[in-house]
């Protein structure tokens, strides 16, 4: 580069201060490794990358397959939270991908709720209470999942201690939100002592009616 341009080059060099990435190398590797694994699984499965309904199935070690991969969203307001125990990433297709250490999923509910809300997922979580709004469909399938939940929340076990969820905020009907009710220790009989939860769609902007009566025994 010509010395005549020294002043322009100096001005350019000085136009951006010292910066550093917040993400660590381990976090970058974790994301890349996860994608490698999913890509590999998708290849083995011949591209049949359907997802299984989650609910309590993952607590029972339910069958799983790789979730559909999607490019990370780089839009303004995109959420990419990579903690040791969990990751939350908004994707370009509008979904939210969450990987979670299973124990943390049930023990660190506040963090999950905050991360999902930050990512744009309307969700309300309770422990030991199972709520519905006026006119909401209160039925549950044998796995503790209400009607329509499969459209907004899918997931599967992706390892001995890991679970992956795909949330789709755009699939939540207008005026509804996802309710997740975790069983407390006294209610775990229905899951033979394993961590469990109930998911259903409930109305927003209304007073929810809640019960502490555990749902029917899960199958």
């Amino acid at each position: 580069m010509s010395e005549n341009n020294a002043d322009v080059l100096e001005a350019l060099q000085g136009s951006v201060g010292e910066v550093s990435m917040h993400a660590t190398a381990d976090e970058i590797v974790a994301v890349g490794r996860s994608r490698r694994r999913r890509r590999s699984l998708a290849g083995v499965a011949g591209g049949a990358a359907g997802v299984t309904a989650l609910a309590l199935a993952m607590a029972y070690g339910g069958a799983s397959s790789a979730p559909p991969d999607a490019a990370d969203s780089a839009t303004l307001g995109a959420v990419h939270i990579h903690e040791v125990g969990y990751t939350v990433d908004t994707k370009a297709d509008g979904t939210i991908h969450v990987t979670w250490d299973k124990q943390r999923y049930f023990q660190d509910r506040a963090a999950l709720e905050a991360a999902l809300r930050q990512a744009g997922m309307p969700v309300v979580m309770r422990v030991g209470e199972f709520c519905v709004g006026p006119g909401d469909d209160a039925t549950l399938d044998p796995s503790g999942v209400g009607p329509g939940v499969d459209k907004v929340m899918k997931g599967e076990s992706t390892g001995p201690d890991k679970v992956t969820f795909v949330f789709t905020p755009s699939a939540v009907p207008a005026g509804k939100q996802l309710f997740i009710g975790y069983l407390n220790s006294a209610q775990l009989a229905v899951t033979q002592g394993r961590p469990g939860s109930v998911e259903r769609l409930v109305s927003t902007g209304v007073t929810l009616t809640c019960t502490t009566t555990a749902p029917p025994a899960h199958k």
Binding site: V16, A74, T75, L76
Partner: protein, 164 residues
Amino acid sequence: VEQLEFGEFYRSGQAACLRAVLASVGDRQLAEDLVAEAFARAWMSWAKVRGHPAPYGWVVRTALNVRTSWWRRRRRETVLDGALEVQDTTAGDTVLDPVLLAALRRLPRRQREVVVFRVFLDLDTRATAKVLGIAEGTVAVHLARALATLRQHLVARRVLEVES
């Protein structure tokens, strides 16, 4: 071993890559997202990237390509929405000369990319040509034109400063 190697690669070059991308996009959070995405892709293709003649150039090029896709998508969505609103989320403490960087971003894409690779990433002409897939002579031409335009901008600014 592979992970240790990549970790060192990331730690050594992440700041320069972020700086280069930030100069190009002007938004700290967006730049971080793009660079993180590019490094994740580098890890996924590490066997190829580690042998690249300019691996950090590969990362920045990937980040800017992701940005291009994002911008095209956003522009389509904006047209559909019937509204244009570009948020200014520039991080004030890292972008020290936003006016000059705005001038940089107004350059034609190739000129801007050449400046990013040659000036901010400090790649030589050959490596820049390799990363961008253009001739070395073309790199030199783009750089000369870009610097000439930016010089005019600096001169105009100095005149205004003197007059005021």
